[in-house]
Symmetry: C2
Subunit: 310 residues, 2 copies
């Protein structure tokens, strides 16, 4: 049964892909065996991470990029990671509606992923979902992260090419985003480039990058787009391709792959260790009791953890 | 020596507070003992979490709110959590410059916190820094999160009152933010309220909240501000106070405190378990070797973790 699921994944069957992703989301016991087999078949897809501030138009950009790839006959997988709404489901519903046009196309697979419970694991599950799509023969896999926090940046970093989306004149906090960009952006997009302030944002980015040299010496290109009018999408696709080609040959990309591998191992290790520790009804009950004691200040969190570690 | 540091924290000495925060950031062995003593003295400060999209003007709002409290003679601690720029330090420098005026004031303590390394723990360390400021006698402790991802939301949730900052007309992704807001916002701010679209944003928020009833039945007030002109700050402070009063008496706030306690325990447990597992040079070397094997696809991440768990 398990093997047949894997075989069905390898033929690209959407139901099998969806079921496999649910398994890694749930962290089910079959997931480990499944992923071992899946992992061996990965490495063929181009994995594109898309991140940026809320309001930057990432969703439209992903839609248009996917449509561009489809027009060239490529199969496209999309993982929309939404860590910010664990209970509401609002954004996920929005994604589904938004992508309805695309999702009628059998060459496109779309999945939204959100946090489940408080044991973490979303970042790990998203990266595994990407691997499943890769193994299922999707040519392009786009990972769109909705938030812009630490987890989201980690997820975007695991892509082959990470695209950071900005808009002109976003205000002071853009400085903050920019600081993060230097680290993760392989391609920079100024979306909504029909707005005022494009030139200023472009100059600022150029100035920023002139100050720093990346370890791999890649100079991230700046692409201007108006996603809702499908402007600049071809240029974006070309910049993504160029970045991938560069990295294939750069000596520093071994370090990058190793850093990604280390991150994956640590994410998984963390989850496993906590799950191991908290397995069993008595430990769950103990956690509840200790939480109540810490809440009422009868106990501090450190001694609660020591109690659990005993 | 350790006790004298704790005593100096309790008298509110800035150097002692700064040193203690460094210890919890580093996860040093003394941190546990320190935090056990600090924890017992917490619970007096009003802890205000401020979160929202980049570009919403959170920094200005924090500055003005802090100045408002100072004018009333209250001591203010500020923790600016910046998980998005682990290496650059750009945002941190920006914060420091920004807050220079405030930081000359001895009644204000400001600290920026960023990710260190890949073992996590920023969320845990930020919450502990808040506890240190609380124990040091600061009347108001403001936690500003720069990112808007899962970690940032977790941090904001641990505050007594969580303020979510929006701006008018932020585009489609506001829907996403809104979904998260229902869960965490005790007070909603529409900043830059001199811009077009304020009324629409306000109506949208009202419509959103009319659909949902929180477990504690609190109806989050919407406050309009123009932070850079100091407009609406008094109203914001009043809304924060009202939310705190409500929660003090609401039966559901016990559940809230317990959920925060559970989160703190799990964060700490996760960090401890990984640190325990990876302690020792041979394990560190093994992690490096396994990372290289996963990077070159000789091995999958799951079997790497099984190897480490042996």
């Amino acid at each position: 049964m398990k093997d047949s699921l894997v075989e069905r994944i390898f033929t690209g069957e959407p139901n099998a892909v969806a079921r496999a992703i649910s398994k890694v989301e749930d962290g089910s016991s079959e997931a480990a065996d499944l992923m071992k087999q899946v992992f061996a078949r990965t490495g063929r897809a181009l994995i594109i991470g898309i991140t940026g501030a809320p309001g930057a138009g990432k969703s439209s950009l992903v839609d248009k990029l996917a449509a561009f790839y489809r027009a060239k006959g490529e199969r496209v997988g999309i993982i929309a990671v939404d860590p910010s709404s664990p209970f509401s489901g609002g954004a996920i519903l929005g994604d589904r509606i938004r992508m309805q046009a695309l999702s009628l196309d059998k060459g496109v697979f779309i999945r939204s992923m959100a946090t489940r419970g408080n044991l973490g694991g979303l970042a790990r599950a998203s990266v595994e979902a990407v691997a499943i799509l890769d193994a299922a023969g999707f040519d392009r896999v786009i990972v769109e992260t909705v938030g812009v926090g630490q987890d989201e940046i980690e997820i975007a970093k695991t892509a082959d090419v990470c695209v950071v989306v900005l808009v002109p004149g976003m205000g002071d906090d853009v400085q903050t985003l920019k600081a993060g960009i230097m680290e993760i952006g392989d391609v920079l997009v100024i979306n909504k480039a029909d707005r005022d302030g494009v030139l200023r944002t472009e100059k600022e980015l150029e100035a920023l990058f002139s100050l720093s040299v990346r370890a791999d010496e890649w100079q991230p290109p700046i692409v201007k787009t108006v996603a809702i009018e499908s402007k600049g999408i071809e240029e974006l696709a070309a910049a993504i391709e160029k970045s991938r080609e560069f990295q294939r040959n750069a000596p520093a990309s071994h370090d990058r792959r190793k850093a990604i591998a280390r991150w994956r191992i640590l994410e998984l290790l963390r989850e496993r260790l906590v799950a191991q520790k908290l397995s069993g009804d008595s430990t769950a009950a103990k956690l509840e009791q200790l939480s109540a004691e810490v809440a009422s200040k009868e106990r501090d969190p450190y001694s609660a953890v020591e109690e659990l570690l005993k």
